[in-house]
């Protein structure tokens, strides 16, 4: 069979044979399958021919393999199966990096922006604040590359209407202003760079001083006079007294678009909501680490109390680092993800009582009460970082506003969140040789 095989020859050879295998075939010379412009070739015939040709080449290949020729490598090359080839080679001697491009998709699930809520009113809006603050507006998880974050995080610093007990390293910053909420407010704004001030009317608690609501409201007026940043008004946490206190406070702050803290399921939230809508304030919707309770309260505020969407901020509760932050973190993260995916009962900016970090013993206790623990080091440094890390992790979960206390904590938290926001210009060191850095 030294002659060339033509299609017609193949056809005639195989036509009447039931070929299952070819045995004892010798092949000489080139094999050339000459398929010419098959005008009029029956597709079924072409398929049959193809099949037979493939069968033949398989047998031929088997023969070649028996003779020791690297058939598989040849096939792999022909068919483009590089891996097969590589496996057969002894060692890949890679001399050049295999070039490839990094690529990652943007999220397609996040299709609903977080509701924007503006706090504070300037003279143009009938208030007396120097500027306003807008929370929310995110279209992605915080600081993610999927979408620009329109508004940065803000810090509101705590001011109390009476001296309170607090960790030593916090207290040392406020001893001179403890008896005067207005001076206290000035200090946090002018010296500690607070974006906002939260005035906590804790003396109104019947178990503390039982200050009448009307009297407490005067403190709110004083603070509004003292500083021109937007304010948050907090009660004492007493569910019986708070609605009345917040009503009076809302009245004296009319037009300033304050944030009333808080409406919750365990008090008469309707009264708080009505105070907000009557006097043009926003309301803080506070629940305890429970996503469904948060949905329920937000729904009630919207449907039952007619609070407009642009006047609701949520506080899903902050548990301190080491004291349940895992729940607080996941709760916020789940709320924010659901919101971005379109849950309109959770689609609001969030606030964190980051000050709660000072409840953790690690932040204030002089040393560990446990003899087995390693030395905890000086608490002056431990406390602020406890508040920072508590807040920072929640910033990454989706938190927009931080209620804080320690000046160092405020400064560092603002620095890192604004850095991630892209707002901080800084010369960064050359890290290519960090291994030999002298530190």
């Amino acid at each position: 069979m030294s002659d060339k095989l033509k299609l017609s020859d193949l056809n005639s050879i195989l036509k009447d044979l039931d070929v299952e295998s070819l045995e004892g075939v010798t092949i000489e010379g080139d094999i050339e399958l000459d398929i010419q412009g098959g005008g009029g070739m029956n597709p079924a015939m072409a398929y049959a021919l193809g099949h037979e040709a493939a069968q033949i080449s398989l047998h031929v290949a088997n023969i070649a393999r028996m003779l020791g020729y690297p058939v598989d490598q040849l096939f792999a090359q022909c068919l483009g199966a590089g891996g097969e080839t590589a496996a057969l080679q002894a060692e890949p001697a890679i001399e050049e990096l295999m070039q490839t491009k990094f690529d990652v998709a943007r999220s397609s699930e996040w299709n609903t922006p977080i509701q924007e809520v503006t706090l504070g009113a300037t003279s143009a809006d009938g208030g007396s604040r120097g500027h306003t603050i807008t929370l929310g507006g995110e279209k992605a998880m915080p600081f993610y590359f999927d979408a620009e974050m329109p508004n940065r995080n803000y810090v509101t610093m705590d001011v109390f209407d009476m001296p309170i007990s607090m960790a030593k390293s916090v207290k040392s910053n406020y001893e001179d202003v403890m008896g005067d909420p207005a001076e206290w407010a000035k200090k946090v704004v002018n010296e500690y760079n607070a974006d906002m001030v939260t005035i906590h009317l804790i003396s109104t608690d019947p178990l503390i001083n039982d200050t009448p609501a009307k009297e407490a409201a005067k403190v709110v007026e004083d603070v509004l006079q003292a500083v021109d940043v937007p304010i948050v008004i907090g009660g004492s946490g007493n569910p019986q007294k708070d609605p009345e206190v917040l009503e009076k406070a809302a009245e004296v702050a009319e037009g300033e678009r304050a944030l009333l803290a808080s409406a919750s399921l365990n008090l008469d939230y309707e009264r708080v909501a009505k105070a907000a809508t009557d006097y043009g304030h926003a309301v803080l919707s506070w629940t305890q680490l429970e996503i469904n309770a948060q949905k329920e309260l937000n729904r009630k505020l919207m449907k039952q109390c007619n609070v407009p969407r642009d006047s609701i901020v949520m506080d899903p509760t902050t548990a301190a680092l080491g004291y349940g932050l895992d729940y607080a973190y996941s709760n916020m993260e789940r709320i924010r993800l659901s919101a971005l995916m379109g849950d309109d009962e959770l689609n609001f900016p969030m606030s964190s009582g980051t000050t709660n970090a000072w409840g953790a013993r690690e932040s204030w206790m002089k040393e560990s009460p446990l003899k087995e623990d390693s030395d905890w080091g000086p608490r002056e440094y431990r406390g602020p970082i406890w508040e920072i890390v508590t807040g920072l992790s929640l910033a990454l979960a989706g938190n927009d506003m931080f209620m804080m206390m320690h000046p160092t904590s405020v400064q560092v938290l603002k620095e890192i969140t604004q850095t991630l926001y892209g707002n901080i210009e800084a010369k960064t060191p050359d890290i290519t040789n960090w291994i030999t850095a002298e530190v």
Binding site: M98, A105, I388, V412, T428, I431, I435, T436
Partner: protein, 470 residues
């Protein structure tokens, strides 16, 4: 993990319910495969019988996490990093806590080296029934001399069992260190654009995991990962560079997000653990406190978002404590119950004269109280009320801790205060003071209000226990 329901896993199992894995049914076993508390090899019939060999292989492939798991070190102290399947911890949990390595250098004198390593390997902090500790030592070659580095590495091995990261960009230096340390399976740091060929050779020769370093160049990082994988080196760790400040830090954060998202989304060429080097904060700040603070802040951001291993410098407790707690926070299994069983529990060997302390069944509260008492060798009873896993302050506000609950706990435990104790007095946590009257009425005992933090219980008990009159 390519499958996520027990039913999917069940299809590959023998279905004989033989029970040799310790589960009653293959279905129960399947659900543990999905939550990773069991692995396919725990099914003994599949391992032993040839007819299941193919299915076992397929199942293992399907169960393999999206992000490759890399193990560094040997023995009990070895650490595994990576192995994750989700981008958000509440969806499954993050596996393998971020490994924290603290640095030493080959220019430290013997004493300094010894002290520092001692701090790193002995630092511990009690938390919820166990101690939080640090994981690794990173040895940096500052001298530039192979012999010096190798001898330091040798010293370090003599001082600690903790796994090591060997840091140098000079292949000769790395080789010298591997000569003395390879059998400890250290992580080699690092291959970069210049040295990758030699470093790949070392990784093959000594069979150790290796870090790829491409500061802010994800194309290069991916090209290196692809090339190394092609050479059969797959225990890889990716370092996209940790720029400590400014817009570059924002980019660093985004790089971490991008690499992990691509990996979880199925780009196998970058599905490896990620390394952060918050130590670079020390290159940006001069004073120790600022540098420590900023290092902790950078470490926190990258612990929350996908750093699997990091190299740090500060061993000040004010930096270590928050770092350790945050990583525990992020890597705690959100599906794990965090309560202890309600009841009346004994600490030490209490007698009829011992104090009876009330607390909640939130695991953290319980263990805090328990350890504060036991470490001070105080014998007492702890009454653990079922507050549905909520701490004292919140449980009082939310109505989970009430006089009725305390009464019920004592009744269920058949603990009669009048019969079993001499004082008929219980101690309430300081934060639940408002329950005092109610408890007195309903439990029929005297009530003392303890301190707000159980850390002060020892001192408080000295003054207030036993109560004045019976």
């Amino acid at each position: 993990m390519k499958i996520n329901s027990p039913l999917d896993a069940y299809k590959y199992l023998p279905g004989t319910n033989c029970g040799r894995c310790g589960e009653d049914t293959c279905m129960a076993f399947a659900s543990h495969l999905i939550d990773r508390s069991k692995s396919a090899e725990d099914c003994l019939p599949m391992v032993e019988e040839d007819k299941y060999a193919k299915k076992l292989e397929e199942l293992e492939k399907l169960l393999a996490p999206e992000i490759r798991e890399v193990t560094i070190g040997t023995g009990e102290k070895s650490v595994s990093i990576g192995g994750d399947d989700v981008l958000f911890r509440h969806k499954l949990t993050f596996f393998n806590k971020t490994a924290y390595a603290y640095d030493v250098t080959d220019t430290m004198d013997e004493k300094e080296l010894e002290e520092r390593i001692n701090t790193i390997q002995t630092f511990k902090k009690f938390y919820v029934g166990e101690f939080l500790t640090l994981d690794m030592v990173a040895v940096r070659c500052v001298s530039g001399k192979p012999e010096t580095f190798a001898s330091t590495v040798k010293k370090v091995i003599g001082l600690t069992e903790l796994p090591l990261v060997l840091c140098s960009f000079d292949p000769a230096v790395l080789k010298a260190a591997l000569e003395v340390a390879a059998d400890k399976k250290p992580l080699m740091y690092a291959a970069n654009q210049e040295n990758w060929k030699e470093v790949a050779g070392l990784a093959k020769e000594y069979e150790v995991p290796v870090t790829l370093f491409a500061p802010n160049d994800l194309d290069l990082l991916k090209s290196m990962a692809k090339t190394f994988a092609e050479m059969g080196i797959e225990d890889l760790v990716l370092d996209p560079g940790t720029f400590p400040t400014g817009k570059e830090l924002k980019t660093t954060f985004e790089n971490f997000l991008k690499i992990r998202r691509a990996g979880i989304d199925g780009d196998g060429e970058v599905a490896y653990p990620i390394m952060a080097v918050p130590l670079t904060a020390w290159m940006a700040y001069d004073d120790d406190v600022s540098a420590s603070y900023w290092e902790t802040v950078v470490a926190s951001v990258l612990t929350v978002k996908y750093g699997d291993i990091m190299i740090m410098h500060s061993i000040e407790p004010y930096a270590l404590l928050p770092e350790m707690h945050l990583r525990d926070t992020i890597y705690t299994d959100p599906r794990k119950p965090v309560t202890v069983d309600p009841g009346v529990w004994e600490v030490g060997s209490p007698t009829a004269d011992s104090p009876i302390i009330v607390t909640t069944n939130f695991a953290l509260t319980y263990y805090t109280v328990e350890s504060d008492i036991s470490s001070n060798k105080i014998d007492c009873y702890i009454v653990v009320a079922d507050t549905e896993g909520i701490g004292v302050e919140a449980a009082v506000a939310g109505g989970q801790l009430t006089a009725d609950k305390i009464k019920k706990t004592l009744e269920n435990a058949k603990f009669d205060l009048k019969e079993k104790t001499n004082y008929n007095t219980v101690i309430l946590p300081g934060l639940s003071a408002r329950l005092q009257g109610d408890v007195e009425d309903k439990v029929g005992s005297r009530v003392l209000i303890g301190p707000a933090d159980s850390g002060r219980l020892p001192g408080w008990l000295e003054k207030n226990w036993p109560p004045q009159n019976k």
